[in-house]
């Protein structure tokens, strides 16, 4: 476990990876990315899928944000803010983990 009991919010230099308990993939019948886990399904919207796809334990949060700013040009601040917010939610749900 890399998360502490009282987690700090995600920071630009950190790296996040999918919790190995979850399977992330594209699901054609839902026309979306999904997370699958024991007896559970999470259907992800496009933004959530874009972010989790890049939680590979290698990219830093800053790199992830830069990629999404390229993908969704126009309002860099809003994209960055959105990524931080999503990462915090995903981490709290246990889907992703902060790498040491």
């Amino acid at each position: 476990m890399t998360d502490t009991a009282t987690p700090s919010p995600p920071a630009a230099g950190e790296r996040y990876a999918l919790n190995p308990m979850y399977l992330f993939r594209w699901e054609p019948t839902q026309d979306s990315h999904v997370l699958l886990y024991p007896e559970g399904i999470v259907k992800l919207n496009q933004t959530a899928g874009d972010i989790i796809e890049r939680c590979d334990g290698k990219r830093t949060v800053a790199e992830l944000i830069a990629e999404l700013q390229q993908r969704y040009p126009g309002d860099d601040d809003r994209v960055a803010e959105g990524v931080y917010k999503f990462l915090e939610v995903f981490r709290a749900k246990g889907w992703i983990r902060r790498q040491a």
Binding site: Q30, V34, E39, V42
Partner: protein
């Protein structure tokens, strides 16, 4: 939904997201709360063949099924299990094996891993060897603990499923310690639901409210202590809930079970309801059964709801509860589930609780799930206090498919 610690959003968009295959009713254990039909040993059709199960897998996937449960009986008694898992994985299912652990050798674990099995749900009945072995009617405890460690050693996500009833409800802390030692990822305390064999043994199995509250406190303390190291589910018995469970997230909404002989059902217990027209995958395409058959349309949606459900503000939350329980307790499957305090039949629940805990009631031996008792019960014979009542099961009645949207 009588389960805390989980998020459930109900939107299958008309797809059977959760497909459960009961590969066989055969089982090495004799659990007296088994969810299989009490008359499972009657002469009936043969189990589906490997090729027939593969056709079900293909048709289910075409309908949009994502989560797949292999259960039974004991699914490991099918020697084509690995072949079916491999087929299901290739089709894109998330594959869950729901097992007693009996027969799960290291060789089979390796083969199942290679076949693409995603997770294993192992049952455990007690933290004590002697009580476990007595309750399941076989020497199973040591084997189960060994299998649990093997499952983790081979890197499977693991759900430890503990059916909860009067005999083990005081062991929550010991079971938690055992689960921690094994390194379980998900621990599910599932208060049994009273159908089928559990209904036959209801007076002996139903815990008291005080026992239930103590168990809940122990679970809450463990959650705070363990944080995100282990997810702990606690399924409350609806007898004490005052509101019915959102059984299967609604009839024909997201859940589809196929019995060993190919009969398709909205839940594992539905066969107990008389007068329904059951269809077999041997005779009909799965898509027709799911979308069009009278059985699956019978209680689908909210339009059929009786009063007091029809005008109830909570109808979209619980869909009137469980059809099988409504039938078992009131004799009419289209009644409001008597587990609801607003049901005119709710007294049947409070009376059942009072009966189980009546001072001076003579304790009865548990009616074990075995072929002999099954044949007796099939004839309506007397080997239990409620021997005339057949039906409904325990484990998956509260379908734990969490469907979340982000």
């Amino acid at each position: 939904m009588p389960k805390d610690g989980s998020v459930v959003r109900l939107d299958g968009q008309g797809k059977p997201l959760w497909l459960v295959l009961e590969l066989t009713y055969r089982c090495p254990l004799k659990c007296p709360w088994c969810s299989n039909p009490v008359d499972y040993a009657r002469d009936g059709e043969a189990e589906l063949s490997t090729a027939e199960w593969k056709r079900v897998l293909r048709e289910g996937r075409e309908l949009g099924a994502l989560q797949l449960g292999f259960t039974g009986g004991e699914p490991l008694l099918r020697d084509d299990l690995e072949e079916l898992v491999a087929d299901a994985s290739a089709l894109g299912y998330y594959t869950n094996l729901i097992t007693s652990g009996v027969g799960l050798s290291e060789e089979r674990l390796i083969a199942l891993k290679a076949a693409g099995l995603n997770q294993i749900q192992l049952s455990l009945q007690s933290s004590e060897r002697e009580l476990t072995d007595t309750l399941v009617g076989a020497r199973a405890f040591d084997l189960k603990v060994k299998v649990a460690h093997l499952i983790k050693a081979h890197g499977f996500p693991m759900v430890l499923n503990v059916p909860v009833f009067r005999h083990n409800i005081g062991q929550v802390e010991d079971i938690l310690a055992l689960a921690e030692d094994i390194g379980v990822d998900y621990l599910e305390f599932a208060n049994i639901q009273y159908y089928n064999w559990a209904m036959v043994n209801r007076d002996e199995l139903l815990p008291t409210l005080e026992q239930l509250q103590a168990a809940e406190r122990a679970v809450q303390a463990a959650r705070e202590r363990l944080g995100d190291r282990m997810t702990i589910y606690f399924v409350i018995p609806d007898y004490y809930e005052g509101r019915p469970k959102a059984c299967m997230n609604g009839w024909g909404a997201i859940h589809l079970t196929i019995a060993p002989d190919g009969v398709a059902m909205p839940c594992q217990e539905a066969r107990v309801i008389p007068g329904l027209e059951f269809e077999s995958v041997r005779d009909q395409p799965l898509g027709w059964i799911w979308h069009e058959s009278p059985l699956f349309r019978k209680y689908r949606g909210l339009d059929w709801l009786p009063e007091p459900c029809g005008s109830c503000s909570e109808k979209e939350k619980d869909f009137g509860g469980c059809r099988c329980q409504a039938f078992l307790l009131t004799g009419d499957a289209s009644n409001t589930d008597p587990a609801c305090s607003r049901s005119p039949h709710h007294h049947l629940i409070t009376e059942a609780i009072a009966q189980a805990h009546a001072p001076g009631r003579k304790l009865q031996a548990l009616v074990m799930r075995n072929d002999r008792n099954s044949r007796l019960l099939a004839q309506g014979g007397g080997c239990g206090s409620n021997a005339g009542q057949k039906g409904g099961g325990a484990r998956l009645t509260v379908a734990r498919v969490e469907v979340d949207h982000v």
